[in-house]
Symmetry: C2
Subunit: 113 residues, 2 copies
């Protein structure tokens, strides 16, 4: 029941935007400065900065400034809660289906007696 987890909401929200996913994919190849990230998007710098802020607040990227260039890098571990939530959901369905299996099995056994 990790549903009210604000982290999870922030994560999913951060991932819900194509521009942000694009940035993450780009960063998966390795760290990059802000301007390099902005280029492919066709968006203005301040807009990209906002996207980066969303990603950083979600913990999906980390940034550090060296001189006048800010380098951004993906934080793979940050994806874990998402994966975990998906796994939890799956476990719930499967639990249910197992119980349904048992139920059907019992029915069949009773019938065959």
């Amino acid at each position: 029941m990790a549903n009210h987890d604000p982290d999870l909401s922030r994560l999913f929200h951060a991932l819900a935007d194509p521009t942000r996913r694009g940035i993450l994919t780009r960063l998966a190849e390795g760290p990059a400065p802000v301007t390099a990230l902005a280029g492919p998007t066709g968006l203005r710098l301040p807009t990209v900065m906002r996207h980066l802020a969303v990603l950083e607040e979600a913990g999906l990227i980390a940034t550090s400034k060296d001189g006048r260039v800010r380098s951004c890098a993906v934080v793979p571990a940050a994806f874990e809660p998402v994966r975990t939530w998906l796994d939890e959901q799956r476990a719930l369905w499967e639990g249910r289906l197992d119980r349904l299996d048992d139920y059907v099995m019992n029915l069949m056994k009773e019938r065959s007696q």
Copy 2:
């Protein structure tokens, strides 16, 4: 590079709300009518209906009406694109890290000659 996929955006967006995740968790235990889903949320029916519409448009649930009651059920397969995207991202990081490994290995080999 499945980033511009509108399905993915709709999925992530649908999952970004605690109320909607709560509904999914509830549905993972088995199908339920709208009112049963609304109860725990403390929200008004029209509000819940909107959440259900978002979930259905994302393909995460399916609904069908029998008499005057609409039954909602989770659609496990709909989660796959999310999982797939996560896996793709992971593959990218790992590819990068592998190449980095190779690079370091080569460096070390060259040094030791």
